[in-house]
Amino acid sequence: MNFLRAIGRVFIAFILNTGRLGIFLVMSLSHIMRPPFYWRQLGAQFLHIGYFSLSVVGLTAIFTGMVLALQSHTSFARFNAEGAVATVVVLSMTRELGPVLAGLMVAGRIGASMAAEIGTMRVTEQIDALTTLSTNPFKYLVVPRLVAGVLMLPLLVIVADIIGVFGGYLVSIYKLGFNPANYLQQTSKYLESEDVISGLIKAAVFGFIIALMGCYHGYQSGRGAAGVGKATTNAVVSASILILFMNYALTSILFSK
């Protein structure tokens, strides 16, 4: 009986959380459409999510591109297909690794900071204070973060794609001895615009997920430092899992033909 009760408790908690998240999502989306808009807050989030994530996303991308070139060269050498290295690097970066790795890195960096900041505001009654100062917390805190997440992640992924391909180029030219002109030609030969666009669509979805999870868990944060800590962990874990799940779902939709 205890076992069944435990399962029931987990199931009810799951339903409750899903319902709360659904209401939070609908409220957030409804506020995106209606004024007032806090442009200054939006600008600050562009800077926070976009500009300050450049270094971490760039470093992740360059090492990923370099490893990709090394690994694919080692594997393809077994059946004399080393010429495909450039194509593998560019397609892997634009379609999968650019958006997924940028998403996961930003989830760790931005999702955590959003949940901690909003959670602390909840615990110290700053969110209640916003309401008493005639300011809707959804419009002031949640909407700018969601919009900035959706718009900034694709820009970060463009940067990650370029740096990742450059990383692959560096290893291929200076370590594996490829001809630079041939490598660049191979890079662009099989790359199609839909490869890049599909990656950017994924990035926008991942940006929305990161901001939504950061805001939701921060907003629902429990009391005290432990509550904020738990909210931060939940934001990063749930955003990361949802990114991996949505990556599969989007890949099967975008590349099903």
Partner: protein, 254 residues
């Protein structure tokens, strides 16, 4: 004395799970009156204020602010009805990412759409009204002492000239001298803008200074109301135990 009602609460009930916090509160706050609710920790004082401010949805009952029923209103309409209400939170609840003058001007710039230079002028005036000079306006709340933070929070609460102000334990955690100064500032500020004040506290010294009328909250109900003079002469065992801090009496100590 003919006074109009600013806040009228009837039959207010709120429970969290099985725990009944408010069990049928009736409360009247008149124009330019200072009403203080006293009660022990965990008796639902903050929940009562948050229900009136629309921050917590009550289970049952009626809340009227300036004659307008706010229970059941949509968020936007509720905020419209509460536009002329200010609040001083227990911990100040200052925005730590903004300098002091921006905190004070927040309701004016964000809530009322006032131009920043105009709002800044008013914020500096309000800071002066709570005895803070201009140098304090340009630093962050974390750099201020607890007493100074309370003054900034008070300046923010009165910045938009509200008609009703709520004070949630305004002197908790402050030394007696700073508490005295905050009490005096509350009296002066409220009188200057002609507002009504509803304060919750368990600081009897503070209560004696700022209250016109007093209510005692116990087991989710206002079990006694009267003037400060009546409070000192009543034989209500709850009031007697509470104001004298007696270890024995009808209140159970937890």
């Amino acid at each position: 004395m003919t006074q109009s009602l600013k806040v009228r609460v009837r039959g207010l009930k709120k429970s969290f799970g099985n725990k009944v916090v408010l069990n049928g509160i009736d409360l009247d706050l008149y124009t330019q009156e200072s009403f203080v609710i006293m009660g022990g920790s965990g008796t639902g004082k903050s929940v009562l204020i948050k229900c009136i401010l629309g921050l917590i949805e009550p289970d049952e009952g009626s809340i009227q602010v300036n004659g307008e029923e706010i229970v059941g209103l949509s968020y936007t309409h509720q905020q419209k009805a509460l536009e002329k209400v200010g609040m001083l939170f227990q911990g100040g609840a200052l925005f730590d990412s903004m300098v002091v003058w921006k905190n004070v001007a927040f309701a004016l710039t964000h809530g009322h759409g006032m131009a920043p230079f105009e709002a800044k002028k008013i914020a500096l005036e309000k800071l002066q009204a709570v005895n803070l000079d201009e140098t304090a306006a340009y630093i962050y709340p974390a750099e201020l002492s607890g007493g100074m933070q309370k003054r900034v929070a008070l300046a923010r609460a009165i910045a938009a000239n509200p008609e009703v102000i709520f004070f949630d334990e305004p002197t908790t955690g402050l030394d007696p001298i700073v508490s005295g100064a905050i009490n005096q500032l509350i009296i002066d500020s409220v009188r200057r803008i002609g507002a009504s004040a509803l304060t919750i506290t368990h600081d009897i010294g503070s209560l004696r200074k700022i209250a016109d009328r007093v209510g005692l909250l116990c087991e989710g109900k206002l079990i006694w109301t009267g003037t400060v003079k009546e409070m000192d002469t009543t034989d209500n065992p709850y009031v007697v135990q509470f104001i004298h801090g007696l270890p024995t009496g009808p209140f159970t100590t937890g």
